[in-house]
């Protein structure tokens, strides 16, 4: 009782401190006049994510240290017009607007769709590109022709994009969400999904040259990319607007887009006056109310993610325990070769990153004809990785049991197998429970890594919701509490189990 109370007291104290910190530092990073600062320092700091990929901003394959892409050229043109140099700031795309608000860079220019949600937290310039969503299917597939044909299909989309939101609003589309631009097309080729809905530039760059894939239907859900600046930087936005207009009028923008095969008639809309451009996004955003939506509205999505997290964790832990025990027994009791196999497994799995193991399982194995579903790959990946750690825990546990126990059992006529099963393992398990609990809690949190292979679990749900709503703080607390709410009972249960299996001492 006492410990529970004090734990909750500490939690409350921690939350209060955290919120104080957040409020007190809210505006301290923002510059009064970013435009003046840019001109004064002679550098425009540009935030983007090169991992987002082609044709926006990406590393040149021939000169990996060099960044190329139409937005690189655009940023350079803008800087030239401003009379300054570009300084690059690499930032994860999910948190790009957050970092802009923090003051890490002056502008965010990276295929950021102008949506009312985002306009609540940042200021957009006039659009510099008119995008639309494009459906991509396998060349051999004749089922899909329009957006409506996607009903009931499995469709891939990049996360935190208008395309994904469109698919979700269609209701009965099963959406696979990806963070990289290459992966959805890979999965499409592998028959894991039926179609991909992405921004036209991505479809043009990745799918058009691929003979296995085909673009179908006319682009839908038009929208615009804009450059984001901080709300208080109206002066900078005005200057950028003038520059974009200049680049459009003098044909430079068209030249850049032509070089990347991105110019189309839709871009002519950019020439419309700003007043007419106000009606841009065709697709109504999910939460366009003026007041930010309450955290409670996100709870069902978060809980769904939490269920996936629990499912993946439990199943992969079961695999890790079973496989780990087998490996430990192989290493302790097997012949030389079996011992070597077990040792090699343990060393390889411990010595390489889980992330790479997951990539190989999901994207590498199809090369040799094994195509696993994302969920299966996630469980196998986590389970096989943690089995290596479990194996060592069990080995240590088994070795900690005095040799006299085995001798006593053998002298009673028990076989080696029976001795292991009834005498050694039950005692070793007791020794192994604290480190096992530790591992299980670690696995629980590591399960967020499987989001790289299109599994939407709790952390992924959080980051999608948070970057869509810009509500990182409150949602973060709720998500953290969900994790804690799942792992703390586990600790309690392990403690109880440990107590139950404790050796009975002289004075119970």
């Amino acid at each position: 009782m006492n410990t529970h109370q004090s734990i909750f007291r500490y939690c409350a104290l921690f939350l209060v401190c955290l919120s104080l910190f957040c409020f007190s530092t809210k505006n301290s990073f923002a510059y009064q006049n970013t435009l003046k600062k840019i001109k004064g320092s002679g550098t425009l700091i540009w935030g983007f994510d090169a991992e987002g990929g082609a044709p926006y901003v990406f590393h040149d394959v021939k000169h990996p240290s060099k960044l190329i892409g139409f937005e690189v050229e655009l940023a350079e043109a803008i800087a030239r017009e401003l009379g300054v140099k570009v300084q690059c700031f690499q930032n994860a795309w999910d948190s790009i607007l957050l970092s802009l608000q923090r003051g890490d860079f002056d502008i965010a220019l990276n295929g950021i769709e102008i949506t009312p949600d985002r306009e609540q937290s940042v200021l957009f310039t006039r659009p510099y590109y008119a995008y639309a969503e494009q459906i991509v299917v396998r060349a051999s597939d004749n089922r899909i022709h329009h957006l409506e044909d996607l009903h009931g299909k499995k469709v891939g989309a990049l996360y935190n994009t208008v395309a994904r939101r469109m698919l979700e609003e269609m209701g009965d589309v099963s959406v696979s969400t990806y963070s990289g631009q290459v992966e959805p097309f890979k999965d499409l080729c592998l028959n894991r999904i039926d179609a991909v809905l992405v921004d036209l530039p991505i479809a043009s760059y990745y799918a058009k040259p691929n003979p296995q894939l085909r673009l179908v239907g006319s682009p839908v859900g038009e929208g615009y990319y804009g450059i984001a600046v901080r709300k208080e930087d109206a002066a900078l936005a005005g200057e950028l607007n003038a520059i974009i207009e200049r680049l459009m009028r003098n044909g430079e923008l068209k030249k850049i887009y032509n070089r990347w095969g991105l110019w189309n008639t839709a871009q002519e809309k950019l020439f419309l006056s700003e007043g007419l451009l106000q009606k841009y996004t065709e697709c109504p955003p999910a939460a366009s109310e003026k007041t930010p939506p309450a955290v409670i509205t996100f709870l069902p999505t978060l809980l769904k993610g939490a269920f996936v997290t629990i499912g993946i964790s439990l199943l992969s832990m079961m695999l890790a325990v079973g496989l780990g025990l087998t490996l430990a027994i192989m290493r302790l009791y097997g012949n030389v070769w079996i011992q070597k196999i077990s040792t090699a497994y343990i060393e390889i799995y411990r010595g390489t990153p889980l992330l790479i193991q997951l990539y190989i399982l999901y994207y590498g194995l199809p090369n040799i004809g094994i195509t696993l579903s994302a969920f299966t790959a996630a469980i196998l990946g986590l389970g096989m990785n943690y089995a290596a750690y479990e194996a060592e825990i069990y080995r240590a546990g088994i070795q900690s049991i005095p040799g006299g126990q085995t001798e006593a059992a053998l002298s009673l006529g028990m076989s080696k197998r029976l001795t292991l099963k009834r005498i050694i393992l039950p005692q070793a398990l007791r020794v192994a429970i604290p480190p096992m609990t530790n591992d299980f809690i670690a696995l629980f949190k590591d399960s967020s890594l499987v989001s790289v292979i299109a599994v939407v679990e709790l952390t992924k749900s959080y980051s999608m919701l948070a970057s869509a709503s810009m509500n990182f703080f409150k949602l973060g607390i709720v998500t953290a509490l969900l994790y804690f709410g799942m792992s703390y009972p586990l600790s309690l249960y392990a403690r109880k189990l440990e107590k139950r299996l404790k050796p009975h001492d002289r004075n119970p």
Binding site: G404, E407, A409, S411, L412, G413, M414, L501
Partner: protein, 251 residues
């Protein structure tokens, strides 16, 4: 009943048993005495198959166990014969080695149920009578950690007896006990012996060896230096080494 012929065992080029001969007839009680490291424990552990030896053979009721360097040695046969010997011979260890995660009752019933296939009920009623025999009625549901050393060793004896062995090996059963507990354990062994149990016991309890055993073997450096009736060994030892050891012990 137990015949040991020309037993050689070495470990790391150090001889532990050096051409040892010993015969234990049915119903006899042989005490193995001698300084630490003389090979008493090693000999008992060889009989039980817990340790292997290089040369010679051990025969327990016709079950033959050859040294691993003997021509008649056969790995597969050995496993079966070791098991047969273990079913005939019970062993009690210096450190008791009770299973700490099981109650006293389960310590005793575990092997009969899972090795011999005796029913749980039958095993438990046998265990109850064994607990009575070792004067531990009422402790059936305790865990080993809740018992004193003497009580634990008596449970270990009951556990070995539960397999209905034809002979018992005791490996210094009282050496890790407090003095006040030694007697209670020796008393149980004495009762067992008086019922005719064939027994080999490695011990430092000279009084017990002299009063209870039918034969005493003095071991030194892996050899049986002297083997005879307790009266002869204790009152008129023929060998200098025996004399020196006994005079050190009797001080």
């Amino acid at each position: 009943m137990i015949e040991i012929h020309n037993l050689f065992k070495q470990y790391d080029h150090k001889p532990l048993l050096n051409g040892l001969h010993l015969t234990v007839t049915k119903g006899s009680v042989v005490s193995l005495i001698g300084p630490s490291g003389s090979g008493k424990s090693t000999l008992l552990r060889c009989i039980n198959g817990l340790e292997s030896f290089q040369r010679g053979y051990i025969s327990v009721n016709g079950q033959l166990l050859y040294g691993i360097h003997e021509q008649s040695h056969n790995e597969i046969q050995r496993d079966r014969q070791v098991k047969n010997i273990r079913l005939k011979v019970g062993m009690v260890f210096q450190q008791f080695n009770l299973f700490p995660h099981m109650t006293v009752l389960r310590n005793i019933t575990e092997a009969p149920v899972h090795v011999l296939g005796v029913s749980q009920a039958e095993a438990e009623s046998h265990a109850a009578s064994l607990l009575q025999q070792v004067h531990l009625e009422g402790k059936a549901h305790r865990y080993p950690g809740q018992l004193s050393g003497g009580e634990q060793q008596r449970v270990a004896i009951a556990r070995a007896l539960a397999m209905k062995p034809e002979a018992m090996l005791f490996d210094e059963p009282t050496s890790s006990l407090d003095p006040e507990m030694i007697e209670e354990v020796l008393a149980v062994i004495k009762e067992l012996v008086s019922e005719g149990m064939t027994t080999v016991i490695a011990t430092h309890e000279m009084g017990f060896a002299r009063d209870v055993s039918t034969g005493v073997a003095f071991l030194d450096k892996g050899e049986i230096v002297e083997h005879g009736h307790p009266k002869d060994i204790f009152s008129s030892p023929r060998h200098e080494r025996t004399r020196a050891f006994l005079s050190r012990c009797m001080k």
